[in-house]
């Protein structure tokens, strides 16, 4: 079932989107769409069909935290799993993201193992 999940990867750097997409493919998730900031991601999310959001934080336009808040504020997607993959590494930022309802937080640069563990942890807690 999990291999059918549709992921949305949001990052303003096309190289990072491509890297995350490749690793998701390796984990068996081949259904991946991309957006370059919150403003372009939100219409894709609102259109429906996305099961898992992986987003950067620091992006021009709408940053990832605002996108997370918009997702949590919308009843149709309030429970969507959201993983922040970001270079922002200050304690208060991590706390702010947690308070906004993030499900996982990965600091760049990350390893393939870290990304795998966080995604699997979020999916197993959602399935429980």
């Amino acid at each position: 079932m999990s291999a059918d999940l549709k992921f949305l990867v949001v990052d303003d750097f096309s190289t990072m989107r491509r890297i995350v997409k490749n690793f998701l493919n390796d984990l068996g998730y081949s259904n991946v769409v991309e957006a370059d900031d919150g403003n372009t991601a939100l219409p894709i999310l609102k259109a429906g069909g996305i099961d898992f959001l992986v987003t950067d934080w620091n992006m021009p336009g709408m940053p990832g935290l605002e996108l997370l808040k918009a997702v949590r504020a919308d009843p149709a997607m309030a429970k969507m799993p959201v993983l922040l993959v970001t270079a922002e590494a200050k304690r208060e930022q991590i706390i702010e993201a947690a308070q906004a309802g993030v499900n996982g937080y990965v600091v760049k640069p990350f390893t393939a193992q870290t990304l795998k563990e966080k995604i699997e942890k979020i999916l197993s807690s959602k399935a429980a």
């Binding site: 990052d11 750097f13 096309s14 190289t15 990072m16 491509r18 890297i19 490749n22 690793f23 390796d26 934080w57 620091n58 940053p63 270079a87 922002e88 590494a89 200050k90 304690r91 208060e92 991590i94 706390i95 947690a98 308070q99 993030v102 499900n103 996982g104 937080y105 990965v106 600091v107 760049k108 640069p109 990350f110 390893t111 393939a112 870290t114």
Partner: protein
């Protein structure tokens, strides 16, 4: 002493005011009052003149200091463009590397599959050398595949270095705007560059050693913090 200068300036005028007031001589009082006001204005004018001279001297210094004008009109815009170029080059290089990896991984996968298929056709008692070779090839290909994936992950440097370059670029743009305004004020610049929009965000991107404060030490710190927050 300033106080004695102040006293000497006003002592006579105040005495004139007092005597005119005592004599109820309105005309003399008005004249003495005008004297007080003139005295006050002359001090103010001197201050304004001093300020004006200082400003003129500063502007003249600025006009003759062509280094600042050169910085505003040429070198800082050049630095901004050079950073843009670095961003573009690293992005292209990272994508080219990812193209090559995406091309090479399926080849490694196909070779692994083929070694298994061929090994399955060989009986267990003969072709020892070939079977050994196929097992080694499979192991090597899996190693190469793993390394290629690590190289792919390493291309994330383009995102991390790019974020730092972008923040420096924003700073340079703001400096450029300020210097262009100063140069225009001095009458030397032919109009400034359009103002660069400030970043409008407190997000700093990747932690820079010696610059960023309050950052966690690594993913394990993040995990501890997140776990402590009940997530």
């Amino acid at each position: 002493m300033p106080e004695s200068r102040f006293s000497s300036r006003y002592l006579l005028l105040v005495a004139q005011l007092n005597s005119a007031l005592a004599a109820a001589d309105e005309k003399a009082f008005e004249e003495a009052l005008d004297g007080v006001l003139r005295q006050r204005e002359s001090g103010l004018l001197a201050d304004v003149q001093r300020l004006s001279d200082s400003l003129l001297a500063a502007l003249n210094r600025f006009r003759t200091d062509s280094r600042i004008v050169t910085l505003a009109e040429k070198e800082i815009p050049d630095a901004r463009l050079r950073l843009d170029h670095v961003l573009e080059m690293t992005e292209k290089a990272a994508h080219r590397t990812l193209d090559l990896i995406e091309g090479a991984v399926p080849m490694a996968d196909a070779t692994v599959r083929r070694t298994v298929e061929i090994a399955d056709t060989l009986d267990d008692h003969t072709h020892n050398e070939i079977r050994t070779f196929l097992a080694e090839t499979r192991g090597n290909m899996e190693g190469i595949r793993g390394n290629l994936k690590e190289v792919m992950l390493t291309q994330g440097f383009q995102d991390l270095s790019g974020q730092i370059l972008r923040s420096v670029r924003t700073l340079i743009g703001e400096t450029e705007t300020v210097l262009a305004e100063l140069a225009a004020l001095a009458g030397e610049a032919e109009g400034g560059k359009p103002p660069e929009a400030p970043s409008g965000t407190a997000l700093e991107g990747p932690a820079v050693p010696g610059v960023t404060q309050g950052a966690v030490a690594g993913q394990s710190d993040v995990d501890d913090l997140i776990a402590g927050l009940g997530i």
